[in-house]
């Protein structure tokens, strides 16, 4: 009854209404999509507006900062001029006097008058008495020069010493130059040497500062080394530093001569590593020999020395520095259109470029092993290696021993399932016998699995019996059953012989496979052993070259490489 009612109901109206609702929903969906799109557009617009606003704020801030920086610059410069303007006059006068003296076109009296006035006008500035001393020296007035020098040293010993060391070098007064250099170096902290000091040492090593026949500078360096050596852990640090620097010269080894070892020995990575370590000896010997074979050029160092003198007489004094830094920063702000971040970054870069400080021994290591980055001359390289000879030698001996410690006494041979060892590749017969035994055992094992099953064996006799019985049954009259038994029996016999034949062929294959393995495996073992012999011999040869490096280092003496020191009887004691 119920089924009939449903059949009769007219659902078309409901269907039409549902269709209409679906259509409406589609319209709403497309409208929502449009609204969504519009909202996106609004967001983008707002985003752009916000960006423009931020840009505007940033531009405004920068413009404000630029204006502020310009005002500050004026103020700072006024303050600098007020406080240290007279320093600038001294600096200009010094440069002028140096140039005038070089050219010889100004009267000595004029120089004297100019400098004495400077002295009165610039109390506390170290350069003023130096200028007086310089003028007195030019005018040949030793007493005045001495008094002025005393005052200069009192005001700034380090700068005065450097100034006169450089002046004496220009005037070719090498003995005095060395004494001033020693005085300058004595004012340095051996754990914190600046760039200037590094150049001075470079100049000393190149012989530009004269022959250290009395060992004044050498003594200073010995003193530094003694002080540093007394520090706990210093020598250990030195050895480590040199080890690292030397190990940096390691190069990947060419493994093309050891293809079998690479493929058939798990010891290969260790062998590769020690061969790389042994190859280092030739590298280092060549590196050191090259350095000592090179002729040193002093042209660059001379230019650098003059640069130091120029900067010494034209750079700002320590007390001016805070204001000068401020001035520099504000100048950067102006240069970058009010961008404080960029100004700060540049300030940082500028500072680190000149703020290179090193301890004396780091300076020696860098000069010897990283000449490109440390910009050291060949003379300094020679001098650095010579002065650090004992540490280099210790580090080198350790490197050799560490590499030798890794020499595997036994080298593994891994050919397929065969894993054994050799020490020098001399046990070929023993290994081949072992390999033969292994192959035999594996073959026997494989063959032992290749036999007829019990059923297959039974098939021969069982089949014959069944066939016989079948024949009997046929004779007895039961022809059909007898025929079936005869066929089954013959089938079993055929199965037996077919399995037997297949087994024979499989066994033949196994024999062939293992014979193949024996031949190829033996060839590989022989090849690996031959490479082991070659490897041991190559390693011994390369490792033996380490003695050449040690001998090379032994014959180096520090004083040998400070030019014109040949006559000196003094030695730098390390």
């Amino acid at each position: 009854m119920a089924e009939r009612i449903i059949e009769q109901a007219d659902l078309r109206t409901i269907e039409n209404n549902l269709g209409a609702i679906h259509g409406d929903l589609k319209t709403i969906d497309s409208n929502v999509g449009e609204v969504n799109h519009n909202v996106k557009v609004v967001y983008d617009e707002i985003g752009n507006l916000a960006k423009e606003f931020h840009d505007f704020v940033s531009i405004q801030q920068r413009a404000n900062r630029l204006g502020q920086a310009e005002t500050r610059l004026v103020k700072i410069r006024q303050e600098l001029d007020k406080k240290y303007g007279h320093y600038d006059v001294v600096r200009r006068t010094t440069t002028g006097i140096l140039q005038a003296d070089d050219l010889g076109i100004v009267k000595k009296e004029t120089i004297s008058t100019a400098t004495e006035e400077m002295m009165i006008e610039t109390p506390n500035y170290w350069l003023a008495p130096c200028l007086v001393a310089l003028a007195a020296w030019i005018n040949d007035r030793p007493e005045l020069a001495e008094r002025a020098l005393k005052e200069g040293i009192k005001r700034n010993d380090e700068k005065t010493s450097l100034f006169f060391a450089l002046i004496c070098r220009r005037a070719d007064r090498k003995k005095a130059c060395l004494k001033w250099t020693q005085r300058y170096l004595a004012n340095q902290d051996e754990e914190n040497l600046d760039r200037k000091c590094i150049i001075i040492l470079d100049a000393f090593a190149s012989g530009l500062l004269g022959a250290d026949s009395e060992g004044v500078v050498s003594r200073q360096m010995s003193e530094w080394l003694e002080n540093l050596s007394d520090k706990p852990g210093f020598i250990e640090q030195q050895t480590k530093q040199w080890s690292e620097a030397i190990n940096m010269k390691r190069k990947p080894v060419d493994a093309s001569s050891y293809t079998y070892l690479k493929k058939y020995s798990q010891t290969w990575p260790a062998l590769q590593d020690i061969l790389e370590g042994a190859n280092l000896h030739a590298e280092i010997l060549e590196y050191f020999s090259n350095i000592f074979a090179q002729e040193a050029s002093t042209a660059t160092v001379k230019v650098q020395l003059d640069e130091i003198l120029t900067s010494l007489v034209s750079d700002y004094d320590d007390e001016e520095l805070p204001l000068r830094k401020e001035e520099k920063f504000e100048q950067f702000v102006v240069d970058f259109g009010g961008d404080e971040d960029r100004a700060r970054q540049n300030m940082q870069i500028e500072q680190t470029a000149f703020d290179t400080h090193k301890d004396f021994t780091q300076l020696l290591t860098d000069a010897a092993m990283k000449p490109e980055s440390s910009h050291s001359s060949v003379s300094t390289q020679k001098f650095a290696i010579a002065l650090s000879r004992d540490w280099v030698s210790d580090a080198y001996n350790d490197i050799i021993a560490q590499n030798r410690m890794k020499i595997p006494h036994e080298i593994e041979i891994n050919v397929d399932t065969f894993n054994d060892k050799t020490t020098d590749g001399q046990n070929e017969t023993e290994l081949l016998t072992k390999f033969g035994v292994l192959v035999d055992a594996e073959k026997a094992d494989a063959l032992s699995k290749c036999v007829l099953s019990g059923f297959e064996k039974f098939c021969l006799i069982g089949g014959a019996v069944i066939a016989g019985l079948g024949a009997g049954m046929m004779i007895a009259g039961s022809i059909f059953m007898g025929l079936i038994a005869v066929i089954a029996g013959i089938g079993m016999v055929i199965n037996h012989f077919s399995k037997k034949k297949s087994l024979a062929s499989t066994r033949e294959e196994i024999e062939k496979k293992f014979e193949d393995k024996r031949v190829k495996g033996s060839e590989i073992i022989r090849a690996v052993l031959a490479e082991v012999v070659d490897f041991r011999s190559e390693f011994a040869e390369k490792d033996g070259e380490s003695q050449l490096v040690i001998d090379f280092l032994e014959q180096i003496t520090p004083e040998q490489y400070v030019r014109k020191l040949a006559d000196s009887n003094r030695r730098i004691r390390l």
Binding site: N397, A401, M405, I407, H409
Partner: protein, 164 residues
């Protein structure tokens, strides 16, 4: 019976306490690495000829049963190396054995004052196995084995340090 080669740990402790009785525990701890560095520096010094000769005699044969000779060698070692090196950190010596096959290396265990010869495949006792390979193949006269490192001694007495 061989006389004791070293002070017993208890005696060393007593001595340490006496020396350091004036300093507090923290200072003792700070002092340790410095002392270790001093010791390392001392042990970096080239070995004397007498010492080299004494250690070379380890392989002369017969000492296995001649304790008096071993004691003589130990006396030379004791006079060469600082006491601190001997008290616990020096384990012994390993060198190539020239007795011929099957012997490969021989050792001197400083704690027991015993010389032993080892065949191929026999593991060296008391942490000395780590020096076997370098003793065999390094070309050094002998290897001093310490708790934290090995010192390979060349025939001219030069010392190379291998941390291990």
């Amino acid at each position: 019976m061989p006389r004791p080669m070293l002070r017993t740990p208890q005696q060393s402790q007593t001595q340490a306490n006496n020396i350091l009785s004036a300093v507090n525990h923290d200072q003792q701890q700070k002092q340790q690495p410095i002392d270790k560095m001093k010791l390392d520096r001392l042990l970096r010094q080239p070995r004397s000829k007498a010492y080299m000769d004494a250690v070379r005699q380890l392989d002369a044969g017969g000492h296995v049963h001649n304790q008096a000779r071993v004691n003589e060698i130990m006396d030379v070692i004791r006079s060469e190396l600082p006491e601190a090196a001997l008290s616990g950190i020096l384990l012994g010596y390993v060198a190539v054995c020239y007795l011929g096959k099957p012997y490969e290396v021989h050792t001197l265990d400083v704690t027991g004052g015993i010389i032993e010869h080892y065949q191929t495949g026999q593991i060296l006792p008391n942490g000395m196995e780590k020096a076997r390979s370098i003793a065999l193949r390094g070309g050094y006269e002998f290897i001093e084995v310490y708790t934290d490192c090995c010192r390979a001694i060349s025939s001219n007495g030069k010392v190379s340090v291998i941390t291990c």
